[in-house]
Symmetry: C2
Subunit: 346 residues, 2 copies
């Protein structure tokens, strides 16, 4: 347990360092303390904080820098989140007030706004129910010229479609029969179950109607996969440049591909509980991200599930400011999406 004065000192070190990026020394620190103590006293305290591992220094005569443990302590105990700026809030509301054609557009746009506000990289994940989505229905729409569009609708109102080509002539009535068969067998079932049943139960049935079902089956599989993997979006990828010390492309490329891999990236931002969570450097269990922190916040769209927004920045980021922004944003986004769903889905 730290004394009040030690806490104050740690807090100032983190605040200063995240703002300026310059290691903070005893003299500058003592002048910022609300109580009057000499720099020598501060030095003694700093020696103690270093001993218990909350701060370190780069070389023997440099100022102090928070360690990972120091950031953690700060985030858990010392930080009071700045409420979001009024102008930032205006900007959010403004950007979210346009006409959107689908949920995806809102979530994607959110990533862009969030990265603009923070000047970091932002990740956003669509709302999802806790349980796997359920197949609403399938459609097959003949488009002429051997083309058919497969459409899949889930119970949480996601629509996925894909066009495929079919050999030979396939009348609309035959397609209808296939659709009826599939819906009879699969509608109302969770998607993961549908995926497995597709191969075991459906393929043999399809063979009764269609001679060469490869492209049809492959398409069904594609849309199912698409509907059941969680879509997420990135905004401000370029900002990585500005806060990565090592401006070397060979260092950045793997990070970019990490971010662009749906499964990998979702892992980092999914584990968020109900509100805001902060993961710092090595806590992220990926060596590439050891100098980065991720702040995630979940947003709640009631019966339509929960989504996640996240900011990826350097470990030395102004946590209270960013947390304030993420918190303000997730509330606003919840509101916006509830509205959106309510408007169209009752």
């Amino acid at each position: 347990m730290l004394t009040e004065r030690e806490k104050m000192i740690l807090k100032i070190i983190v605040n200063d360092y995240t703002k300026s990026g310059v290691p903070v020394g005893s003299k500058a620190l003592s002048s910022q303390l609300p109580i009057h103590v000499s720099s020598a006293t501060v030095r003694n305290e700093m020696a103690f904080l270093e001993e218990i591992g909350l701060i370190t220094k780069n070389h023997s005569s440099s100022g102090r820098v928070p360690s990972i443990e120091g950031y953690r302590y700060y985030v858990d105990n010392l930080l009071n989140p700045n409420p979001i700026d009024n102008s930032d809030m205006m900007m959010i509301q403004n950007s979210l007030s346009g006409r959107f054609r689908q949920i995806d557009e809102i979530v994607q746009q959110s990533a862009d706004i969030l990265s603009n506000l923070t000047n970091y990289t932002a990740l956003t994940l669509k709302p999802e129910q806790e349980t796997t989505p359920i197949l609403g229905s399938f459609r097959l729409v003949p488009l002429g010229n051997h083309k058919v569009m497969a459409i899949l609708i889930t119970d949480n109102d996601e629509v996925v479609n894909q066009v495929f080509h079919i050999d030979g002539d396939l009348g609309g009535d035959k397609l209808d029969a296939v659709v009826r068969m599939i819906n009879d067998k699969l509608a109302g079932k969770p998607l993961d179950e549908v995926i497995t049943k597709l191969k075991t139960e459906i393929v043999p049935e399809i063979l009764k109607y269609v001679k060469n079902p490869d492209s049809l089956v492959q398409t069904l599989d594609d849309v199912l996969m698409q509907a059941s993997t969680n879509q997420f979006y990135i905004g401000g990828e370029l900002n990585l440049l500005s806060f990565t010390d090592n401006n070397d492309i060979s260092y950045l490329k793997p990070i970019y591909s990490l971010l662009n891999d749906t499964d990998d990236a979702a892992k980092f931002i999914k584990s968020s509980d109900n509100s805001i969570s902060v993961q710092i450097g090595p806590e992220l269990s990926n060596d590439l991200l050891k100098d980065y922190s991720i702040i995630t916040g979940s947003y709640d769209v009631g019966p339509y599930g929960k989504g996640v927004i996240a900011v990826l920045g350097p470990t030395r980021m102004p946590y209270s400011r960013v947390i304030g922004i993420v918190d303000g944003f997730r509330n606003e986004l919840s509101k916006k999406l509830r509205n959106y769903y309510d408007k169209y889905n009752q």
Copy 2:
């Protein structure tokens, strides 16, 4: 008109400089010349080449560097394109041999391959006919729960779709009536004409069937716009980093947004004639690109139109190598796409 020796010297300067990035001096140059002359002679020739503006130097005692005019002369008169590497060709054929769901995927993948081969940034444009595409037909598919999908099919087999929401209850028969009306009036007409007629002729008609047609009309407009703007793809955006001297983010950001603006970027790569064209630095009529060159090559898919592939690199890029790659690639891509169309559209 340059003498043969002057041409040789200019050629070596360009070759050397594009390879090494280091200004080339008289001594190194003389040792590379096939005829034996001393460095002093080379210096005299270089002074002349500088006088007529084909080369410059960075400071009074540095080696020579090609000027924009020098590159232009080289590209027009001196360059003999390297035929594409066998291994590169293998890599292209390999990457294009997978299963693709649509043309767009192939064109997108092409941008990635091309950027990998060159280590520069690649842009690709879908094949397009010379004339504006013609509206094949419209569909409106009710998906239940107030959702309707609008589908547009053009004569060059492009399919565009979008889901929208509709207030109140709209029976399938009413939708069918709207669709029939639209197709009667507009099918077979070029898209630009369709776009203007939509507002003048169609909206009043729609009002007969639908009370609140806003979202429907807006959606029709959206899909029409989407079908008539040329889609293009970018590969290897990150590579910009590695060949931009000024590694400053404030310098790169506008270039990225330039590239991501469909209209702007398409302008640079569309003007290509039948084969390969090279645009160097200031010739690109955009100050942001004054240190870059673009090599475009068009590919031909017979009756389905022509597309463009392009490589964006630094003005000092190894033109003969890149031109060889672009040329090899466009041939391969033509073949692949002809196959693709033939297979599905007869």
